[in-house]
Amino acid sequence: MLSNTDLGRQPAPAASAGVRPLAAMRGVVKSYGARRVLDGIDLDLREREHVAIIGPSGSGKTTILRLLIGLERPDAGDIVIDGEHLWFERRGGTVVPAGERHARRVRRAVGMVFQHFNLFPHMTALQNVREPIVQVLRLGREESEAQAADLLRQVGLDTHLHHRPAQLSGGQQQRVAIARSLALKPKIMLFDEVTSALDPELVGEVLRVVRELAHATNMSMVVVTHEITFAADIADRVLMFDAGKIVEDGPPAQVLKDPANPRTRQFLRAILER
Amino acid sequence: MRALEPYLPLLLRGIPVTLEVTALAICLAVAAAFALALGRLSPWAPARWGAGAVVETFRGTSALVQLFWAFYVLPFFGVKLPPLTAAVLVLGLNEGSYFSEVVRSALTSIRTGQLEAAVALHLPARYRFFRIVLPQVLPVMMPPFGNSVVGMLKFTSLVSLVTVQDLSFRAGAIRSAIGSSAATYSVTLLVYFGLAIILGGGVRLLERAVNRWAGRDAHAAAGAAGARASTVPAWAVLAR
């Protein structure tokens, strides 16, 4: 199902019961300056699949997410979201590098929650969540307020609608951020170490929300995390990243309990011995 | 432009005057800045109050008024200063007051922990100042210092109003002689601009030397400048 290929060699398409993957990366390479962060990644994401990504910092975990949502452009390789190429478009019969407008349309299917929340500080929680509803879905005031309030209720913050981020705890802010990214009903949701910046006692409330999303929605989820128990709980599949490559890929029972790769073993031992 | 040509040497002879005033005033400004900053940080209340008063006075009123005051009023108090001296004094103290804020914030930014550690190691006070405080403080002050130097260069144009024959003074005189304002003032502006670029470049070289002396490697210093790469992403700017 997953493999790493050498740069330039086209892999055989991943066949899984003839179902097209919801998202796919082929031969993706990304460097920052002289540092190669991703070294020829192939990755398939199926509908309703929950994938957890673990690995040491600098291994490329966050970069994968940023590429999936189009925050960054790969140096080489292809990214396909819901059947459309992210960075290539068909114009008049030929395939050309895509512009921003095309990328914007394709990335609509993807949502992301950040490690540092990135809420708009000058807006209330309600206004934060309303923002994409008003600007992208073009709904009117009443409708957008109702939807936003409902989303905030789902993450347990209906009593904090009119609070600004500065008046909220880290855990509350992150839950607002989750509600906000749910507003556009994405098919794929990306979580970039969403609890790493939180005080330990606030981690639980956020993980609870993510777990609920995993059980209650049809979204595909890609979760980059250090919370191993949590990953074991919600993931269908765990990927271990190291030095820009995927070194292990399999169900949580295998990767987390009895990993094949020594690097994975080493990493898990270090992280669980804290 | 043709009319200006014979007067060009006369105009350009203002350059050394301008540079002289700039150099003298900057020296005074730096000395004053340190003195005032240390005064405001002093545990001795009268020093704090005195330095504070000087700084707020010079920063709170117009520099031109201060210049006129030194030029027209001081003689009545029996203090007859030659125009150049009065000008350098006012410019130096004025710019020094502004720069003292930079020095003060740089000095207070030294983590007290480091000073306490130095004291605990029984390092002598002079050593503490020169080997611990100064190497951390000077590099931080260099960019604002560059601004001050160029600012002083522009500042010196005011001395033309108290009869010092700098570039601006000569420009004015030549203008009234030949009546061609555009040419005269354009050239004057370009000369100032050229001087500003040269002085700015000079300070940047000094900045690099200071960074080397302070033990900051070139990469770190350049990193601080390169970090000025814009946070504004390309997608938000370049046309679709």
């Binding site: 990335r107 990135n118 | 117009s62 992403p233």
Partner: protein, 221 residues
């Protein structure tokens, strides 16, 4: 023997003239500030917009305005504009010069404000698919302004003091009134000291206010 004595009679006599000059000073400050803020924002939009040819040109203009003396720029405008058929009253020329010179500084402040908006804000705007105009108008600029306003306030205060230079182009503002009175009465102590005091009494409280604003803004972030 005019000396260290302070002559209250002279002081009271020149005060009306000084206050008349003050009103011109304030006028010039207000007009200059409006021009400086407007132009500064224009320069910044062009500079940040990375428009080919225009952006570097504006960048050079801003460097030029910042790198040459205000006094000489004033002279240039005052003497050169009429030769191109644009004869403005001295006060307006002065306000224009003030606004032009300080637009170079306000542009820097606006740019710093925009650059200070955290990268994460841009990133969430992109991931939420917000339209570009909204990213600027609703998300980035409001945050940028919060940071920029105190610094802009400082420059307004600076402009207030720099209006003194307008005296060199025949504007009878505060400083001009003082030197004028001095030449008239041969007593410079009273007019110049009063003028110094007036500048101080108006600019110092304003500076403290702006300083307090800066602190409040910093705390909220």
């Amino acid at each position: 023997m005019t000396g260290l004595r302070w002559d209250w009679a002279t002081a009271w006599a020149v005060l009306p003239d000084l206050l008349r000059g003050l009103s011109l000073t304030v006028e010039a400050t207000v007009a200059g500030s409006i021009i400086a803020l407007f132009l500064g924002l224009c320069w910044t939009i062009v500079r940040v917009g990375r428009i080919p040819v225009v952006s570097p040109a504006v960048q050079l203009l801003v460097e030029f305005l910042r790198g040459t003396p205000f006094l000489v720029q004033l002279y240039f405008l005052f003497y050169v504009l009429p030769t191109y058929g644009l004869t403005l009253p001295a006060l307006q020329t002065g306000a224009l010069g003030l606004g032009l010179y300080y637009s170079a500084y306000t542009s820097e402040v606006f740019r710093a404000g925009i650059e200070a908006v955290p990268a994460g804000q841009w990133e969430s705007c992109l991931t939420l698919g917000l339209p570009l105009w909204r990213v600027w108008a609703g998300i980035v600029l409001p945050q940028a302004m919060r940071i920029a306003v105190p610094m802009l306030g400082n420059y307004v205060i600076v402009m207030f003091k720099e209006t003194a230079l307008l005296s060199t182009i025949t504007v009878m503002e505060l400083t001009a009134q003082a030197t004028n009175a001095g030449f008239r009465t041969f007593r410079f102590v009273e007019p110049l000291t009063l003028v110094g005091l007036l500048y101080f009494l108006l600019s110092y409280p304003a500076a403290r206010l702006v300083h307090a604003l800066e602190h409040r803004g910093a705390v909220q972030h």
